[in-house]
């Protein structure tokens, strides 16, 4: 993973990491929409952010 990208844990897409990223910041994957939480800065570590499931059904 290059210094300003991480790999999405769900779908494997490249997710851009902003230069001024902070611990606890939420990054959104452009391909699959999952939200990733930056758990550590050095080394840059991410985890799936808790997502409250919206009621989407008909």
């Amino acid at each position: 993973m290059s210094n300003n990208n991480v790999e999405c844990l769900e779908c494997g897409a490249d997710v851009r990491v902003p230069g001024n990223v902070m611990q606890g910041e939420i990054l959104k994957c452009g391909d699959c929409g999952i939200e990733l939480e930056v758990t550590e800065l050095n080394p840059l570590t991410i985890d799936l952010a808790p997502m409250e499931m919206e009621d989407w059904g008909e």
Binding site: E10, C11, G12, C32, G33, I34, M51, E54, W56
Partner: protein
């Protein structure tokens, strides 16, 4: 570089009209003649009102056709094959939007359309006009056949996992297809009469769909698939939405499916993968594709049972007909493949 001169035969129907709309915005071609049986002498906007103020063209009779660079045939099924010699004498490049030259195998044609083909020697001279699965053959070709709309949606829904070897020809493929009213064309019938067509969910053709042979042909390199298409008409004018019911191996991860889809579709200008975790639009939907050449593809997979639904949505007049034929023309003539096809749809 002067514009290529283009003619459309049968330009008063819905596919002919969509073709006219797209070509009128194409910087490298000029539509110089359009024929229509029952509308000779009328201006195109008398039949296609949205083209008012955009084109100053009148329909001519078939007999009035002049030689030109490219001829699009948007005739009812069965007519192109009866006068193919006449049309190929008029233009070095022909793109036929009907089903007449889609199936390469004459016996496939006879079983599907219940009569022998009138020009079988031409069948293998026409390249199947779905660029996403046949791009190399289309580049520089002279003759191309348009695609069937329901077949295109089904083929594109299956393509990624078939190519990746995750879905094999060892099971029946159940394709449940929802369609709009423009698929039946511009001629009114009792079934298209608004009071009985509006707001329906009408199972229309549930076995022996003519497009099954076309899908089998498209997938033939990967196996002989048992394609079972069933069509239901719903409240929609433009649009095809297909849900294909299959069973995959259990225990696959989302990334495995993403990898197969990205491997197949990455870089394709008109195919988008729609597989979202949240929001209203998690899967492909046809409404926001109206007027575009897009095909949106996606899936839903249950790792515990392997139960899978493969999804695709297109505009039957776009990627399912006129959009793909303009894309074919671009490939045949060496133009940028997306020329005149960049309208991205509107929403809501």
């Amino acid at each position: 570089m002067s514009r290529l001169q283009v003619g459309i035969v049968g330009a008063s129907g819905y596919t002919g009209g969509e073709l006219l709309r797209l070509l009128s915005q194409h910087p490298q071609v000029e539509v110089m003649q359009v024929t229509a049986g029952r509308n000779v002498g009328k201006f195109v906007h008398n039949v296609h009102p949205h083209l008012r103020g955009q084109l100053n063209l009148q329909f001519i009779a078939d007999e009035g056709l002049q030689p030109c660079d490219i001829l699009f045939l948007a005739l009812p099924h069965g007519q192109a094959q009866q006068s193919i010699e006449h049309y190929t004498a008029l233009a070095p490049r022909i793109i036929d939007l009907s089903a007449d030259f889609r199936l390469h195998n004459p016996t496939d044609y006879a079983t599907t359309y219940a009569h022998d083909h009138h020009a079988p020697t031409w069948l293998d001279r026409f390249v199947y006009g779905l660029p996403e699965i046949n791009r190399q053959a289309l580049i520089g070709a002279n003759y191309a056949s348009g695609v069937g709309c329901n077949a295109t949606a089904t083929t594109l829904a299956l393509w990624a996992l078939v190519k990746a070897g995750i879905l094999n020809a060892d099971q029946p493929i159940f394709a449940d297809i929802k369609v709009g009213s423009s698929e039946a064309g511009s001629t009114p019938t009792p079934a298209s009469h608004h009071p009985v067509r509006s707001g329906i969910v009408r199972p229309f053709q549930l076995t022996g769909h003519r497009h099954e042979a076309e899908v089998r042909q498209a997938l033939r390199d990967c196996g002989d698939f048992d394609i079972r298409m069933a069509v239901t008409s719903v409240e929609m004018v433009r649009g095809v939405a297909v849900a294909v019911h299959v069973t995959l191996p259990t225990g696959l991860r989302e990334r495995d499916l993403w990898q197969a889809y990205r491997g197949t579709w990455k870089g394709e200008p008109f195919v988008r993968i729609v597989h979202e975790q949240d929001g209203l639009h998690r899967h492909p939907e046809p409404r926001l594709l109206a007027g575009t050449n897009y095909a949106d593809v996606g899936w839903e997979y249950d790792p515990t049972t392997g139960r899978t639904v493969l999804l695709a949505a297109i505009d039957n007049l776009g990627k399912g007909a006129a959009g793909s034929t303009v894309q074919c023309m671009n490939l045949m003539c060496g133009f940028d493949e997306t020329t005149a096809l960049t309208f991205g749809g509107i929403y809501p």
